[in-house]
Assembly symmetry: C2
Homo-oligomer: 446 residues x 2
Amino acid sequence: MNTPREHRTPENSLILITTAMGVGMHLGAWRYRTGEASDYLDLEFYKHIARSAERGVLHGLFLADTLALSEENLERPNLGALDPIVVLSALASVTDRLGLVATSSTTFNEPFNLARRFSALDHLSGGRAGFNVVTTFVPDVAANFGASDLPQHDNRYARAEEAMDVITALWHSWGQDALIGDKTSGVFADREQVRPINHAGQHFSVRGPLTLPRTRQGRPVVFQAGASETGRQLAARTADAVFTVQNTRSAASEFRADLRRRAEGFGRHPDSVKVLPGLVPVIGRTREEARARKLALDELSADAELRKLALRVGVPVDALDLDKPLPVDLIRANPSFNASHGFRDAVVRLAVEENLTVREVLYRNGGGHAQVVGTPDDVADLIIDWYRNGAVDGFNLMIDVLPDGLDDFVDLVVPRLQDHGVFRTSYQGTTFRDDLGLSPVLQTVS
Amino acid sequence: MNTPREHRTPENSLILITTAMGVGMHLGAWRYRTGEASDYLDLEFYKHIARSAERGVLHGLFLADTLALSEENLERPNLGALDPIVVLSALASVTDRLGLVATSSTTFNEPFNLARRFSALDHLSGGRAGFNVVTTFVPDVAANFGASDLPQHDNRYARAEEAMDVITALWHSWGQDALIGDKTSGVFADREQVRPINHAGQHFSVRGPLTLPRTRQGRPVVFQAGASETGRQLAARTADAVFTVQNTRSAASEFRADLRRRAEGFGRHPDSVKVLPGLVPVIGRTREEARARKLALDELSADAELRKLALRVGVPVDALDLDKPLPVDLIRANPSFNASHGFRDAVVRLAVEENLTVREVLYRNGGGHAQVVGTPDDVADLIIDWYRNGAVDGFNLMIDVLPDGLDDFVDLVVPRLQDHGVFRTSYQGTTFRDDLGLSPVLQTVS
């Protein structure tokens, strides 16, 4: 059974990961910022973000993955347009300690390729790779992969679960000390420690072993974001960390408690699954400055935020009236809903609990995720409040405008979190897994 | 119709690409060199190679891809063990002009993923990506991808051909000026220039468009290495450059002439396909030093080179006797041969033309490719001779021991090639495509 590492106190173990979505999470970001619209294709843009994150001692940089170009993607830089494994591999060369978390779909990639690709990033980065496992809920994607329709929700998860079994077995197909490399005797590997996995299942048949030895951190850190019943079960069984959409502290607390219970049900220590809700900080030196920033961003994105909300909750955009309550009954009555349950449930809960209009919903959640529009103290206060009350292990920061919103967070919010003793001042251990406070991977031959 | 670029004279247009295979092409490299056996997993090792290549004004760095671990891979660092797209993405950050050529298999990857992944590397590197298209001939691979057997040779090529049609169409699915990015008006893209490809074929059904705009060089440079009839046809129709196995100048001349004729048959200018045989230089300051280096390497790899040769020609290892002629009749009589025709044909031709024993074959070809064991002048002389006689457009250097063999080539051979006026002293144009002397990609909307 796992136990927390000694070098970490519960006090300063807050986890902070930042996401780079397009040129910022806000749909108006590309028009608001000073750089070029094409910066989302430019390595220098990503280098700036990675270096800022490392300056702020953030745990990791997370990138999404988009496998289709929809109509909205022609209105602004497409979130996840670039293959994230390519971007994060490029950043491995210019960072030393930052965790590098790439999203990939188990629905549209072969598990052998996924296992090898993430192992390669883990080797080259010296044990800093993370794999955010998704099953892909965007219907347009299927048409790029020869399928007329996406597999249904439960089928996607059954495939994902089996894929993770295959991938994990491949990552462990070389024992801890299998690479000997004795140049004098000429013994390169201990054959007894390198074994085929001989997986033959419902969706996959994979012999193995992997082409690569075990990595410094044992295997890449596994992230997930499923909120449905099957998604939570998969996360509780196989994930080291979970991205989630939570708009209230109470909802976050319930989610975390539920996931920790489920993890225990699978024989895992509850601390072995870190829960990280998304958070959109919109920062100003004063509240007025923050509100002005938000307003300017909103004006530059017209009704784009509204259409995004409609997509997230699965209703036509004209079913949403800015000054009326969110049509919760209509949303709940959709029998063919096949998108992310996490986004939908979080926004419905927020609207119901606080009886919000559509306009208020848009103000309080940044395209789905919790949002704070305020001063560095306002942002720090929310983080500290949720963290100290056990609602979260940390946050996944969805920065409104990149890179300056991240620089503001690093320069203005991080020092406050450090002053309050909830956030560390230096990286911990030698790998991403260490740094997240996760226990070492069991070091026996599989 | 394409025409050569003005900035390039035929005199100094020799193309040089270097390959990083494991820690060197020679099977004894890992025991011979000074570094650790695990260096093939270390980013610093690849950074050294990339920087040396750029110091030598080499056109590109090429990496192979190995999708299975065979028994021999436990005897030394596995060539192509790391996913090459990961390694080359990491190197994009630390190089400025070097072309980055990654191998990927169209048999075991979806064309949409391939198109997007290589486009991403092309964007981040500023137009320096190359895609070496392979169909995968190693039977062990199939077992890692749910298939009990590899598709037969012609089926693999039919799939590859259709995959390249899909990938090329996706690369061109955004017109040259589709990304507008006008922050004032809010017009991000010209919708008229972004079109689905709506491909519906024998092997693939892909709607598109790609998630990414066109890259600076129009699309990644396409490499191929097929030597069979179907392989040559695919290369002549779709490749910008061809890696090939040629052990004699006359064979190289014939191959190049054949490929240029075929390209013309597809309506292409013959200069639009560059022919690059592999070359293994084993360099010493004197011939004695070079021979001693080769001998030491051979002694450190025992009979590994012999087993590799047996695999390449498709006969059991005990059918090869070091002091007897290569059993050409037995090799030719194998009806179930399903590996690389290029390697087999090249070695058979060398053995027949010069009536070589197996031992002599091993000395003259480095695991398949042409080999020079000698002084920097010996290496330069062969390169100049083949190049000036029109047998090649350049070479793919298969360095015996990395990184020192590459440093020797860069420091000792490159200056001689420059002195003779066959090799340039600086990078040309702004992209990999420019630098190779290839014509710009046609800039119309597809």
